[in-house]
C-alpha cells in the first residue's frame, strides 16, 4: 500500500508541476511587447494571405510594426463587439461598413478619417465612390475599402438551360415562365441555400430594388417603418410569394446550405438551373468543379420588373469590406501609412490573384492579369456603371437586427408567416 501511495503522490505532484510548466510555457508564447505595434484585426478566411502580404510589406519600411490577427468568419462580429471597447481592441479592423460600424460610431469608438484624407486625398479619390460611401456614417468617412466588391449575380447552368430549351430570363415574367418549363422537366429551377438564411434574403433585396427602387430600403434602414407597409412593399412580397408557390426553389431548400457546399453543388451537377449568389460563387465553383466553370457556368444580372421603379443596372451585395480605425490608436501616422497601401498596385495585384475584385480606380489597369479576366471585367463594369449599389440588408442594419431579419425571410419563404407578419417583423427592426 505504501508503494502505491508513493506512486500516486509522484503522479499527482508530477502532473501538477507539468501542468504549471506547460501553462507558463503557453503564457510565455503569447506575450508580446505592446510598444510600437498596431494590431490589425481581419475576418479569417482563405484570402488572408493578401492581408498578410501587405502587413509584411508595411513592416519592411515602418518603424511601428503591424500585427495581423484573424478571427474566423462566423464569429467575427461577435468577437469584435466583445473586444472593441476593451484592452484587446485592435487599432485597425475589418468590417462591412454601414450598420456594422454604426454602433461603434455612436459609442464614439471610431476615428473619422477626414484628417487622413486631408493629408492624402488619395485615401478617398482612389476608390469608386459608390463603394467608398458605404462606410460613410452621419456624413463622415469611417472606412477605407480593403478587399473586393461582391455584387450578387444570377448564376446559371448553361447546359441545363440548353437541354430544357430555354434562355436566361431578362424579365420577371420570363423568369416565371422559365421556372415552369424547368419544373416540367423535373429540374429544381433555382438552387437556394435556405439553411443559411442570408441567401434567401438576396431574393428580397433584388425584388424590392426592382419594384420600389433603392429609396424604399434607404428609408427603412433610417427608421421609416411605414415603407414596409407601402403598396410597393406588398407588391414585392406578392411577387416573391408567386415565385415560391410555383415551386421555383423545390421543397427542401431550408435543409440546403451554401456554406457546406450544398447549393453550389446543385447548380454544378445540373440538379438545379439557377442560383442567386454573391460573386464569390465563381471561386467556390472553380475550386470544386473547374470543368463546369470552364464550360457551362453562366452569370448575369437580376431580371427587370415591368413597371418597377428600380433601374435594371442597380446591383445589391457587399460593396466591399473596409478598414476602420480606432479613435484611441496610439500610432495614427502609422495607421495612415498602412491604409495608403490599400490603393497600391501591389494590393490590386494580390487581390486579383486570389479572385477578389478591388474597387480602386487603378484596378482596370490590372484586370488582364486577373485569374479570370472576363469575369473580373464584367463585374468591375457592372459595379462602376451601377446607379445604386444596395448593401446587403443584414449588413445595412445594425447587428442587433440580424436574427429577426433572417428569421423573417426564412419564415416568409417556408410559409410560416404571411405578408402582414413579415411586414410587422420588419417594422420591429431597430433603426440604424
Amino acid at each position: 500500500m505504501k508503494r502505491h501511495a508513493r506512486l500516486l503522490r509522484t503522479a499527482v505532484v508530477g502532473g501538477a508541476s507539468l501542468a504549471m510548466t506547460l501553462s507558463l510555457a503557453a503564457c510565455g508564447g503569447s506575450a508580446d511587447g505592446d510598444s510600437g505595434t498596431i494590431h490589425v484585426l481581419v475576418y479569417g478566411d482563405a484570402t488572408n494571405k493578401v492581408e498578410k502580404q501587405l502587413v509584411d510589406t508595411f513592416n519592411k519600411t515602418s518603424k511601428v510594426k503591424a500585427v495581423l490577427d484573424t478571427v474566423p468568419g462566423a464569429d467575427y462580429q461577435a468577437k469584435l463587439q466583445t473586444i472593441i471597447s476593451g484592452k484587446q481592441a485592435p487599432d485597425v479592423f475589418f468590417n462591412w461598413g454601414g450598420g456594422s460600424i454604426e454602433p461603434y460610431v455612436d459609442a464614439g469608438l471610431l476615428k473619422p478619417l477626414d484628417d487622413f484624407i486631408a493629408e492624402d486625398p488619395g485615401l478617398k479619390a482612389n476608390f469608386l465612390p459608390s463603394v467608398f460611401d458605404t462606410a460613410v456614417v452621419d456624413g463622415k468617412p469611417y472606412g477605407v475599402p480593403m478587399r473586393g466588391t461582391q455584387p450578387v449575380l444570377l448564376f446559371s447552368n448553361k447546359k441545363v438551360l440548353q437541354d430544357a430549351g430555354v434562355t436566361t430570363p431578362r424579365t420577371w415574367d420570363e423568369l416565371l415562365a422559365t421556372v415552369g418549363t424547368l419544373k416540367a422537366k423535373g429540374i429544381t429551377p433555382i438552387a437556394l441555400g435556405g439553411g443559411d438564411k442570408w441567401p434567401t434574403q438576396m431574393w428580397f433585396q433584388y425584388v424590392y430594388d426592382r419594384v420600389a427602387g433603392p429609396e424604399l430600403f434607404e428609408k427603412a434602414v433610417k427608421g421609416d417603418k411605414e415603407v414596409w407597409a407601402s403598396a410597393d412593399s406588398r407588391k414585392a412580397l406578392g411577387m416573391l410569394e408567386e415565385l415560391i408557390d410555383t415551386g421555383a426553389f423545390g421543397t427542401n431548400y431550408d435543409s440546403v446550405k451554401f456554406t457546406d457546399g450544398g447549393s453550389p453543388a446543385l447548380l454544378a451537377t445540373g440538379k438545379a438551373a439557377f442560383e442567386l449568389m454573391g460573386s464569390w460563387e465563381y471561386s467556390t465553383l472553380q475550386d470544386a468543379y473547374p470543368d463546369f466553370v470552364k464550360n457551362d457556368l453562366g452569370y448575369g444580372t437580376f431580371p427587370t420588373v415591368e413597371g418597377g421603379k428600380g433601374d435594371a443596372r442597380n446591383v445589391a451585395g457587399n460593396t466591399n469590406n473596409f478598414y476602420s480605425v480606432l479613435r484611441t490608436t496610439e500610432h495614427p501616422e502609422a495607421v495612415a501609412e498602412f491604409l495608403k497601401l490599400m490603393y497600391s498596385d501591389e494590393f490590386v495585384e494580390a487581390q486579383l490573384a486570389v479572385g477578389n475584385l478591388p474597387t480602386t480606380t487603378n484596378t482596370p489597369e490590372f484586370l488582364d492579369r486577373a485569374a479570370n479576366p472576363e469575369y473580373s471585367k464584367y463585374q468591375y463594369d457592372l459595379v462602376k456603371e451601377a446607379p445604386a449599389f444596395q448593401l446587403s440588408w443584414d449588413q445595412a442594419f445594425p447587428p442587433a437586427a440580424t436574427t429577426t431579419l433572417h428569421q423573417a425571410v426564412q419564415q416568409f419563404f417556408n410559409g410560416q408567416t404571411d405578408t402582414d407578419s413579415f411586414i410587422a417583423a420588419m417594422q420591429s427592426l431597430p433603426a440604424a
Binding site: S23, S30, G44, A46, T82, G261, T284, Y289
Partner: protein, 273 residues
C-alpha cells in the same frame, strides 16, 4: 454462466445499433479519401472512383499540428488542476465534521446545473480583466472549474466506500490527516481517480464554448476550434472537413486502443458503479 440459450432478439438489436453507429463512421472514413467532385457525383454511399490522400495533407498544412499541441496542453493542465484540487475536497467532504464542508458539497451539487454557456459573458470579462484573453490559461481555468462538480460527485461516492475500521486503524497508529489521505484514501480511490482523469480529459479535449469565446489567434487555437473554423472557412469542402474530423479523433482513438480498459472502467465510474 447462467445464460445458455443464445438471445437472438438481443443479437439482432445489437446488429441494428452497429449499423446505426457504423454507417456514418464508414461514410466519414471513405469520404476522406475521395475528391470533392467524386463525393458530390457518387454520393456518400457510392463507391469512390479513385482514392486520394490530399484531404489529409491539406488539413495538416492548415495548421492542425499546432491545434493538437494546444489541445494537449489544455487537457494536461485541466486534468492536473482537477487532480490537485478535487481529491482533498472529496476527502474533506466525506470525513470532515464541520458544517462548512457540507455546504461546499451542496454548492458543487448545484454547480452540476450551471451550464457553461450561462456564464460565458461575465467569464469573458473576468478572463479579459485578468489579462488572460487569447491565452490557453484563460481556457484551462474555467474548463477545469466546470469539470469539477461531476468529479467531486464521483470521488465522494468512491471515498464513502472506505470503511471506518481502516481509518481507525491508522488513527490508532498515530497517523496524521495528511498521511491517512496519502496512504489510505488515495490508494483506495484509484478507480474513482481514473474516472476523474478520463472525465476531465474528455471535457478538456472536446471543449468548445470556452475556446470559442476566450481565444482568438491561430497560435492559441485548439482542435475543436480548428474544426469549427474549417467548417466556416471551407464548409464547401466536405471531404476535407471530414478528414479534419478524423484527424481530430486520431490521438484520442490511439489512447482508446492502448488504454481501452482504463478508459471504459473510468467512464463506468461516472455512474458510481
Amino acid at each position: 454462466m447462467t445464460r445458455k440459450r443464445p438471445n437472438y432478439l438481443a443479437g439482432l438489436g445489437s446488429l441494428v445499433w452497429l449499423f446505426v453507429v457504423g454507417l456514418p463512421l464508414y461514410v466519414m472514413l471513405i469520404a476522406t479519401f475521395r475528391t470533392r467532385a467524386d463525393y458530390a457525383a457518387n454520393g456518400p454511399l457510392g463507391l469512390p472512383d479513385d482514392l486520394t490522400l490530399d484531404n489529409y495533407l491539406n488539413d495538416l498544412d492548415d495548421g492542425f499540428a499546432r491545434y493538437f499541441l494546444n489541445t494537449a496542453i489544455v487537457t494536461v493542465c485541466v486534468v492536473g488542476i482537477v487532480l490537485l484540487l478535487v481529491p482533498p475536497l472529496a476527502y474533506a467532504i466525506v470525513r470532515s465534521d464541520g458544517k462548512a464542508t457540507g455546504r461546499v458539497f451542496r454548492l458543487f451539487l448545484l454547480g452540476l446545473a450551471i451550464p457553461s454557456q450561462a456564464v460565458i459573458v461575465p467569464m469573458f470579462y473576468l478572463i479579459n480583466e485578468a489579462g488572460l484573453y487569447d491565452n490557453l490559461i484563460g481556457v484551462i481555468l474555467p474548463t477545469a472549474a466546470f469539470a469539477m462538480p461531476v468529479c467531486v460527485l464521483v470521488l465522494t461516492g468512491v471515498m464513502r466506500d472506505i470503511t471506518s475500521e481502516l481509518y481507525e486503524a491508522m488513527t490508532v497508529d498515530g497517523a496524521s490527516t495528511r498521511r491517512i489521505f496519502l496512504q489510505l484514501v488515495l490508494p483506495l480511490s484509484r478507480s474513482g481517480l481514473s474516472t476523474v482523469v478520463v472525465f476531465s480529459a474528455l471535457q478538456a479535449w472536446n471543449g468548445f464554448l470556452f475556446p470559442l469565446v476566450l481565444t482568438q489567434s491561430s497560435q492559441n487555437k485548439v482542435i475543436t476550434m480548428g474544426l469549427y473554423d474549417f467548417q466556416t472557412e471551407h464548409g464547401v469542402d466536405i471531404p476535407g472537413l471530414l478528414a479534419a474530423v478524423v484527424l481530430s479523433v486520431i490521438p484520442i482513438l490511439l489512447v482508446y486502443l492502448f488504454a481501452r480498459r482504463a478508459l471504459v472502467q473510468g467512464l463506468m465510474g461516472v455512474g458510481g458503479k
